[in-house]
């Protein structure tokens, strides 16, 4: 990973963040309805479901199996990447991990984001609590899956220069996030998209 120009990468990552913020279109939405405070502290290793399993009826057993596999792969990534974000160092090991889970150029993007965090001494530890997960879509052959999760971002601890980051108001409520995965021929499940509270208008959800 030495070939990445650290300064350039960090600058790019910072710009990414800037654009990401801009894309929020308001970040916190003070007019949103208040949702109950998270009371469920779910481990990301669990696979909580929405209160109703009605969504499963639209899928075949094979599609549901694909969903479970994709969800397991995503969960595995969150667990394995957590120490990397917590350490906040753009290392070769981090790049290698991103390569395992993302296609190009997204693994590079993740690396650049990490480099930008390193530049401003940001460390992100923990993973969101997960209230429930469900399939937003599963392709006919089960090769592509979109997962919707209702998450508790308050379980993520962010520090900058060793001090806790100011919480984002909208993130104090449960929010939806969507993860897109696909399993190209010859590959394991790869992550093609993550859309969370920071990458668009927050979408509150009910635990």
């Amino acid at each position: 990973m030495r070939r990445f120009h650290r300064k350039t990468a960090a600058a790019l990552g910072a710009a990414v963040l800037m654009l990401g913020t801009a894309a929020c279109g308001g970040g916190d939405d003070p007019t949103s309805d208040d949702s109950p405070s998270p009371t469920v502290s779910s481990s990301p290793t669990s696979s909580p479901s929405p209160t109703s399993d009605a969504w499963k009826k639209k899928y075949t057993p094979a599609q549901l199996k694909a969903y479970q596999d994709a969800l397991a792969r995503w969960t595995e990534y969150e667990q394995r990447s957590e120490p990397i974000w917590a350490r906040g160092k753009a290392t070769e090991a981090a790049a290698n991990l991103f390569k395992e889970y993302f296609p190009s150029p997204f693994w590079q993007n993740q690396y650049k984001r990490l480099a930008s965090y390193e530049q401003v001494d940001v460390k992100v530890s923990g993973t969101p609590g997960i209230y429930w997960s469900k399939a937003k879509s599963v392709s006919k052959d089960g090769g592509s899956v979109e997962i919707t999760q209702c998450v508790d971002n308050t379980q993520i601890k962010v520090t900058q220069h060793g001090k806790p980051a100011k919480p984002v108001k909208a993130q104090q409520r449960p929010n939806l996030r969507t993860i897109s995965l696909s399993k190209p021929k010859g590959y394991d499940w790869l992550i093609y998209g993550i859309e969370d509270a920071s990458s668009g208008k927050p979408k509150p959800c009910k635990p």
Binding site: G13, L17, T21, P105, S144, P184
Partner: protein
């Protein structure tokens, strides 16, 4: 004119970014004050301060918004850094093809996704893979239209560098290693005695070969990583280097990095084994010019064996005296 369009788009992007950032900060009232040169940004878990960078221009490309979807066609003559606008090698992680309509019109430098998502993925936007390909911005991913479908003929008309790399590898003349062993064919060894193994030192070297197709050039590099020895008795030995040649007059204390001891005989009068060596290369490639992806890895490739040698192994005789 092109430059003006690009500058206008970039200024617009900067202004819109700054204005939109001011929005959440005011509405929330929770955005932190940041040191000069930094700006608040929210990520899952809280607000952080990030370095403010002024994007440059997406120069070096002849942009022409495409007719369909959220993409635009572009045929880059060179690769440019998306933020500084300076020409950079296409292997630079910031280099790519500029798609003016991506990211909801903000534009982005994008690469074709490698690997492509499976057919049927929503990322294909309902298209069949035969109709085109899915691209992704190198700025961030999965946010509001930064992956998009590009119809055939509307993306950069370049060859997949991975395909070129395979072609280059096919043309590369890998070294067929000549096996050497001490003692050589004119003498014999005994069981449980270390026998030196080596290949001529000049055979251990890195190979490079470049192949071009249009504006794309791929250089394949094959670096030797080990020698796989076939000892002729069904066993193999791996050595991490070429070994050290054995020469007459070497003292008993001489050391080698690669040796092998036969431990048994099938014929009590002695066995003769044919010994061969194969160089194993780690093969990587780098792309210059117009590149869909900057670099890649072809894994390990084993070269064919060269000249073989032989060794006779005998049982050490015990002399009993009374």
């Amino acid at each position: 004119m092109q430059a003006l369009r690009v500058i206008a788009a970039t200024v617009g992007l900067i202004l819109s970014s700054l204005l939109m950032q001011a929005g959440p900060a005011r509405a929330d009232g929770g955005a932190p004050s940041c040191p000069p040169g930094q700006t608040p940004s929210q990520i899952p878990g809280g607000w952080i301060c990030v370095v403010v960078t002024v994007p440059g221009t997406p120069g070096g490309t002849d942009t022409d918004p495409g007719p369909g979807g959220g993409s635009g066609s572009t045929v880059p003559a060179t690769c440019d850094d998306i933020y500084t606008g300076e020409e950079v090698p296409c292997t630079d992680p910031n280099a790519g093809a500029w798609f003016p309509n991506a990211m909801n019109g903000a534009g982005c430098n994008a690469y074709m996704l490698q690997p492509q998502p499976k057919p049927g993925s929503p990322l294909w936007e309902g298209h069949d893979p035969s109709e085109g390909s899915v691209w992704g911005c190198d700025t961030d991913f999965a946010n509001n239209g930064n992956t998009f479908f590009v119809p055939n003929g509307q993306g950069p008309t370049v060859v997949d560098p991975a395909v070129l790399a395979q072609r280059a590898l096919g043309r590369m003349k890998l070294v067929t290693a000549d096996a050497k062993i001490a003692p050589g064919p004119n003498f014999h060894t005994y069981i449980n005695i270390d026998n030196w193994l080596w290949i001529p030192p000049e055979q251990w070297h890195t190979l490079n070969l470049s192949v071009s197709a249009g504006p794309t050039t791929v250089t394949v590099t094959a670096a030797p990583v080990r020698v796989d020895w076939n000892m002729g008795n069904g066993e193999t030995k791996q050595c991490a280097d070429a070994g050290r040649p054995s020469t007459p007059g070497m003292g008993e204390s001489a050391k080698t990095t690669c040796s092998y001891a036969y431990t048994s005989l099938t014929n009590p009068d002695g066995d003769t084994h044919t010994v061969s060596a194969q160089l194993v290369y780690a093969v990587t490639w780098a792309c210059t010019g117009t590149c869909l992806t900057p670099s890649g890895d072809l894994g390990e490739i084993t070269a064919p064996a060269g000249q073989t040698t032989s060794i006779e192994v005998r049982q050490r005789q015990t002399v009993v005296t009374h």
